[in-house]
Symmetry: C2
Subunit: 401 residues, 2 copies
């Protein structure tokens, strides 16, 4: 079965490597042959072992009926969106690692796929190489999913881990991450939580059956976290982690948000360090399961793309139909009313903290005299804001146990 | 589609509960209706909400062509084996949580299923409710799997966790586990590692494509572990865990064994506590991924059984064919030649330990004067035995990082 790869970047070239290098293994374990026929890219790659497959003309793929499978690894929502639509319209199944495109146009593209007898699959869009979406959909089909919560962005997790382990500031840790190739030159999408937000949208859509768009998911990144916060977290037996969370409230409505949390050291998520990702799924029958592994990287992500190509080749996902339905605005509620314990840091006095109901006043070496950090008992964001009144906290992060 | 459950034990009644209580949810998320028609058991359950479905006569299921799916939750290799064969011969797909039956007769039963246009599925046999086998087979199909290693038995992991956290002896922790319902009255299969061995067989068979039988998997349980070993492990920055491991050596041959290991605290497996299970999979493309969750329990395990019923209903696994081929004795090699660091405890002197090449002499409070525990550098079991000569160690466990 012939395959075309769109975009010869990190993931795209990894997909090409796996299709070529593991071809015999894949054939012997699955009975399927995936033959790489084209790689579409605007650039030349004179040194690539796959250079003879390169073309700059997507129409060549589009008009070649022998190409049934397309791997889109371009990223973004412009060219990728156009090529994905044209490939699906031509009846080709498309698999992708492009979380932005899935979070923004996933429902529409799955509908287009279904209308043309094709599949649109995106296991690699969440958790890189970690199998997450397919186990959620298949293995947990018997469960009513109650919550999905994860460390979804390797760059910010690396930065937070560095801050905790080496005492660096967020800025210094970011530089380090850029030097190691874990952060992009423009780190906005990672640092501000946009990347985690897109993945949270995909998880929420799959868990609860209706498309959740990024605009519905309040998102806070890690740029406001200080070294002090990392130390106070340690004093509280916790670690600061950026979590994407989606859960059903008692009213049956879905909340989704991205924000830093102080995760209890006893939680499985607290031990997820460096560029690793983990997704915790809570279901009414299974309880809690967690999927852990490399959240990014050339071959891990490419491995998930190829697994999707194999599924698409078997037409399984065409039978199963789109993974979720259209947006259902009445299903969504603001996460503001979710109750949790809180970590708060203020410029003020211990008396002020006590007056707010502080249960634990936290300490750290070298804290300014007017800095107070403390934990508050379970309350909603709304209740927290009321309690704080005019007091502007320097940090207010939820606890996660 | 009609379903019969064989065996109204813990898992069987959990399957019945999920099929009845989550029926609407399952239909709305998958488009499939699973209707529970019979539960076969020799006992009466006058108080069960499912009592009207009970029958003592398996032939009723066997001869009812409207029953396409059978969930075998009897356990063991006697009645379960007979009923599974008869159900498959009648063209019904069978799904099971019965690791002993899969480890002992899996290849034969998958062949019988294929010959009759049916499937034999067993996601619930490893890791209880944790999706492990299906993600390994599907999501990692693009990978050459290099190693699978897991905490596969919740009972022994609970006992080891208790020993470490509360200072109990293995015997006291076992009593505690029995009191809490985590261990059976006859704990042999758990304590001696047989249960972990069966699961290791299933993982090895799936990972490497040929049936690996329990007789080929050297197995050591946890009965020889002492409180002192747990303390020495802590002194070395490690935790004692019972691991089932299977991996490919440089010669391309497969090793599989079950034994206690001193797992480095930095390993994701070290943080798997109590009755939780985790399976770590290393592939050439994906690197390391881990699946974590409840390794047993009524509803978690039942949730995996129901997921298999849904897959069987879709006939996906019939298309994909048997998960592995017949035994290939030349593929297997003894794990004795695997190199690793070692933890050794002897009755002797520090000088003896140094003479053996001890790198770290470990200490613990209250150790007898003639007890010495230490770490040795990487070597095979054979090399270790040669080094020890006539010296009989009281404990010799591999390190795992």
């Amino acid at each position: 079965m012939n395959v075309a790869i769109l975009g010869m970047g990190t993931v795209g070239s990894g997909v090409a490597d796996i299709l070529v290098n593991n071809a015999n293994h894949i054939r012997s374990r699955t009975g399927l042959s995936l033959d790489l026929k084209y790689i579409v890219d605007v650039l030349d790659f004179p040194d690539s072992p796959h250079r003879h497959l390169l073309t700059k003309d997507f129409a060549q793929v589009e008009n070649d009926p022998s190409v049934e499978l397309v791997a889109e690894t371009i990223g973004g929502t412009k060219v990728a969106y156009e090529f994905t639509r044209r490939a699906l319209a031509a009846g080709k199944s498309v698999v992708t690692s492009n979380k932005e495109l899935v979070a923004t146009h996933g429902y529409e593209l799955m509908q287009l796929a279904a209308a043309n007898g094709a599949a649109y699959l995106f296991e690699a869009s969440v958790g890189g190489g970690i199998p997450v979406l397919r186990p959620m959909r298949q293995c947990l089909a018997a469960n009513r999913i109650q919550e999905v919560c994860g460390i979804l962005n390797g760059t910010t997790n690396y930065i937070l881990t560095q801050m905790i382990q080496t005492g660096q500031s967020v800025e210094a840790a970011l530089l380090q991450a850029q030097k190691n190739g874990y952060a992009e030159l423009d780190p906005t999408a990672d640092m501000e939580g946009h990347d985690a937000c897109r993945k949270t949208c995909i998880l929420a859509s799959l868990a609860f059956g209706h498309h959740v768009y990024p605009a519905s998911v309040p998102t806070e990144g890690i740029t406001r976290i200080t070294r002090g916060d990392a130390d106070y977290a340690a004093a509280a037996g916790r670690k600061i982690k950026l979590l994407g969370r989606t859960l059903v409230g008692e009213d049956g409505r879905v909340r989704a948000y991205v924000a830093p949390h102080l995760v209890a050291n006893s939680s499985a998520l607290a031990n997820v360090e460096d560029v690793f990702n983990a997704v915790l799924v809570r279901g009414d029958a299974v309880g809690e399961v967690m999927f852990y592994g490399p959240g990014a990287g050339k071959l891990p992500t490419a491995s998930a793309v190829v697994a999707d190509l194999l599924d698409a080749a078997r037409h399984w996902n065409i039978q199963a139909g789109p993974a979720w339905e259209d947006e259902a605005p009445s299903l969504l509620a603001s996460p503001e009313d979710l109750k949790s314990g809180w970590y708060v840091r203020i410029r003020g006095t211990v008396d002020q903290a006590r007056a707010l109901g502080a249960e634990d006043i936290l300490g750290r070496a070298g804290a300014p005299a007017d800095e107070v950090a403390f934990l508050l008992p379970s309350m909603s964001r709304t209740e927290l804001n009321e309690a704080l009144g005019d007091l502007e906290p320097e940090a207010a992060f939820r606890l996660f146990d």
